[in-house]
Amino acid sequence: MCNGGSNAMADNNSSRADALGVSPGEVEQFRGYLMRYALLQLRDQTSAEDVVQETLLAAVEGGDRFSGKSTVKTWLTGILKHKIIDQVRRQSREQPLLQGEDDERSEADVIDGLFKADGHWQNFPANWGDPGNALENKRFWETFETCARLMPVKTARVFMMREVMELSTEEICKELDITATNCWVMLHRARLSLRECLETKWFGRV
């Protein structure tokens, strides 16, 4: 009967861990968020599903490591980020940033195509009115996803590391083994490509 007593104590402990917000049901509600996060960065449904699944599993199994100092969401995002960075390292070994010349050259043309030889815009950026209105429109987000997908692979990789994972230029340089200047050039290209796409497919039509 002593055993019964210690079991009851173990149950008590586990329900306390659950109370901190790490039960399977509670982490599950963040799956959609984690998937969007992983998919923007990895651009591959299977890899994204894998890292999210691993994250949710790690969270449930390691629930006792959740200190309650941050929100469950922040904690999950931290775990996911580590798993994504491992994937990005793998991707960049398979498709290094400074090789794959064709892609790089066509990406460089993006900026050249937007400006005249004297540095003026070919077409001035249009007035987007109050772009905040678009955020409430489901169809805008479909356009946003399309434009994110249309970004060239390596440009998108750097852009998402900066904007989704919120890594600093220094961290991105270290992960991808590129110079800071190179990183800024790629981010410039990424932002102007995305801008161009959103204007053509959405704001130019409103």
């Binding site: 987007w128 772009p131 987000w141 904007e163 800071a180 050039v185 981010l187």
Partner: protein
Amino acid sequence: MHIPTCRETSALLSQTQDRKLTLFERVGLRLHLVVCTGCRQLERQLAFMRSAVKRYLERDDHPPR
């Protein structure tokens, strides 16, 4: 004082989101923006795009009806 072109300005506006510009760069950027509507639009659009990525992640797929 070299006032940056639109192409250079677009690079500076982008880099504003990644590093602290030098005083020289900031002055050049402001001088250009005063006279250029197109680059002022770009400045607003870059800020919007940054917030849109965050909103996209946070967005609820199943809003209560």
